[in-house]
């Protein structure tokens, strides 16, 4: 069995708002194995980005614990955090906002190299950056560009290059290819996969692209309103989604065929607010299978015989 690289215990991140705490991440227990690729999917606003930002300690958790290689990093501060930044990196969701508008591509990429002493002099830095750009299918002339002088997909690839630059052990990729066409996306995904094998990395993908998550992941987690509702081997969940939210999500995937329109009803109903989550199962207000118990009691993640875990009261959906 591979070692656990990241583990969270009852991790919570609440944001203060005028109407009370926004429970963006609400008791997440997660275990990522060294060397695996984990994929996280879930509704927009359900807390995916907040979860990884908390794990990376870019924001302070409200409660719970985070372990990296078995070591509790929950209370790590400045200096120790710096060392973490070399071990774990993040490809931010919004490439535009994550790039400093006043820094050229060269400056953006040379910074992490310098901070972590990965290159000895300017010449080495230059060589390393040229290599990174080439890997990303970009050209040397992009080095002197500012973010606003790049296309959406070019900015996104600078974000990926930056995360790779420090040669981390674990990379979180938050919608890393949403601005790329299929062909360039495929190139980048294959490149990431190759790098992973060579350097024995662990990946944590977040994406709304269900097909992408399928091809890259070993295991996936489905998140709804701050909580994991289904988690397990990717093929199991794809071939037979069990949680009613997972079922609804997979049914809305459009196909590239003008004669086939979206099959399933998109999930209907009001999305509840994380400030006032429903008291029972958070999906109950929108669930087509809801029964009285669902509205009263929060379902726990239960282990099924095929190894996945599902948080749903109904046993007959399996």
């Amino acid at each position: 069995m591979a070692n656990t690289i990241i583990e969270t215990k009852d991790l919570k991140k609440y944001f203060d708002t005028l109407k009370g705490p926004c429970k963006a991440v609400n008791k997440v227990n997660l275990r990522i194995k060294q060397g695996e690729t984990f994929g996280l999917v879930g509704e927009s606003g359900c807390g995916k980005s907040t979860l990884v930002r908390t794990i990376l300690k870019l924001i302070e958790p409200t409660s719970g614990q985070i372990f990296l290689d078995g070591v509790d990093i929950t209370d790590y501060k400045k200096k120790k955090l710096m060392a973490l930044r070399k071990k774990m990196s993040l490809v931010f969701q919004d490439p535009h906002s994550s790039l400093n508008p006043r820094m050229t591509v060269f400056d953006t990429l040379s910074r992490p190299l310098k901070i972590h002493n990965l290159t000895k002099n300017n010449e080495e830095t230059m060589i390393e950056i040229t290599k990174l750009l080439k890997l990303m299918g970009m050209q040397p002339e992009h080095m002197i560009r500012f973010p606003h002088e790049l296309s959406g997909g070019q900015k996104q690839r600078i974000g990926i290059a930056r995360a790779l630059a420090v040669k981390p052990e674990l990379i979180f990729l938050d919608e890393p290819t949403s601005a790329l066409d299929v062909s360039v996306q495929t190139k980048i995904l294959k490149l990431l996969n190759k790098t992973k094998k060579i350097r024995d990395l662990t990946y944590f993908y977040i994406s709304h692209d269900i097909n992408l998550i399928r091809v890259v992941s070993d295991r996936i987690g489905v998140m709804y309103l701050g909580q994991i509702v289904e988690i397990g081997e990717v093929d199991l969940i794809y071939n037979n989604p069990i949680h009613p939210y997972t079922k609804g999500l997979f049914a809305s995937v459009p196909e590239p065929d003008p004669d086939k329109k979206i099959k399933g009803e998109p999930l209907s109903g009001e999305v509840p607010s994380p400030v006032n989550p429903p008291m029972g199962c958070s999906f109950a207000p929108r669930c087509p299978f809801v029964e009285p118990k669902c509205r009263e009691e929060k379902p726990k993640l239960k282990l099924l015989s095929d190894g996945r875990r599902v948080a749903c009261h109904k046993d007959n959906l399996r």
């Binding site: 005028l18 509704e43 535009h96 949403s178 066409d181 495929t186 091809v215 003008p258 004669d259």
Partner: protein
């Protein structure tokens, strides 16, 4: 059929220290009123620049080298900044920008941002504005809309920001909506609902949409017609059904075939061989020739022009 917008031989270059970037080198297409027109193509090929040219919101280092953008019989390229702002941007033509981060003002609340758009076409009292803003936000399925009004952009998730931007643009009630990758941060379910909202606006107000995207599934779901772009030129203008059944240009063919079929493994995914061309020093003749399996001598020297090959179907290729 009448066209609402007509782009003819548009050329846009950018001045940079390393040389002139020939981003658009002859863009040609027309958008029929009330239609959904898709614009697809490789990353960096000039889709956003095309959209921004229509609204004349290009960067300072941009040079419009030539061409026409005819909107309702007027050439937008002749308009002054003042005329664009007063007569075209907003109520006539609105754009959902590719970067949600760049178009929302970080120091304004969500309520203020959307109210600004509503003000462009409607005078109302404070309370009325509030109600309209709430209505607009509900359309894009944002949760707890009232709680959202006083929030700032950084307090929202990626997809929430994107939906606020969509709401802001739909609030302008435009005739032509340019949607540049509007659903990249949305899950498939909210995306499906958004596409439905667009369809309703088309039925109700005859709204026209230029839809820029990498997502061919979305194209097949809502577009009537598609322009395929490669390295700054349109290589194929084609009705959507034809694009998927019978893509004619070698690039379109590869593009469409790289997404068809169910993919279970990364190795199943195909990429188009070769690399994205440099726009500072683009390939001569047909810009696709270095990557094209069918290229012949003339492809290296002569730029292929769009020619008609079927009903509403145009292709720029020497071999077709």
């Amino acid at each position: 059929m009448s066209e609402l917008l007509y782009i003819k031989d548009l050329k846009v270059y950018f001045n940079t220290e390393e040389g002139v970037v020939k981003a658009l080198a002859g863009v040609n297409f027309e958008i029929v009123k009330g239609s959904f027109h898709g614009l697809i193509g490789e990353t960096g090929c000039g889709k956003s620049v095309t959209g921004l040219s229509i609204l004349k919101l290009l960067d300072n280092n941009a040079l419009i080298e030539g061409g026409e953008i005819i909107y309702k019989d007027e050439n937008l390229l002749d308009k002054t900044e003042k005329q664009m702002q007063k007569d075209f941007r907003g109520n006539e033509i609105a754009m959902i920008f590719q970067d949600p981060g760049s178009s929302l003002n970080p120091v304004f609340t969500i309520q203020d941002q959307i109210q600004e758009s509503v003000k462009m076409y409607k005078k109302a009292s404070k309370q009325e504005y509030r109600n309209i803003v709430i209505e607009e936000l509900k359309k894009v399925k944002l949760p707890d809309v009232e709680g959202l009004l006083d929030k700032y952009p950084h307090q929202l998730s990626g997809g929430m920001k994107q939906r606020v931007m969509i709401a802001m643009m739909l609030a302008c009630n435009p005739n032509l909506l340019i949607a540049d990758e509007p659903t990249t941060a949305l899950d498939v379910s909210i995306q499906a609902q958004f596409l439905q909202v667009l369809k309703n606006l088309k039925d109700k107000f005859d709204m026209t949409v230029l839809y820029i995207t990498h997502d061919l599934a979305v194209v097949s779901e809502i577009c009537d017609y598609v322009s395929v772009m490669y390295a700054g030129r349109i290589v194929e203008n084609v009705p959507v059904r034809e694009l998927f059944k019978n893509p004619v240009h070698p690039y379109s063919y590869k593009l469409v075939h790289s997404v068809l079929g169910v993919k279970t493994f990364l190795e199943d995914l195909e990429e188009i061989p070769g690399s994205v061309p440099r726009l500072i020093d683009p390939p001569s003749g047909c810009r696709f020739h270095p990557r094209c399996e069918e290229a012949i001598d003339i492809c290296k020297t002569k730029v292929p022009q769009l020619k008609k090959i079927g009903k509403n179907h145009y292709v720029a290729c020497h071999r077709r």
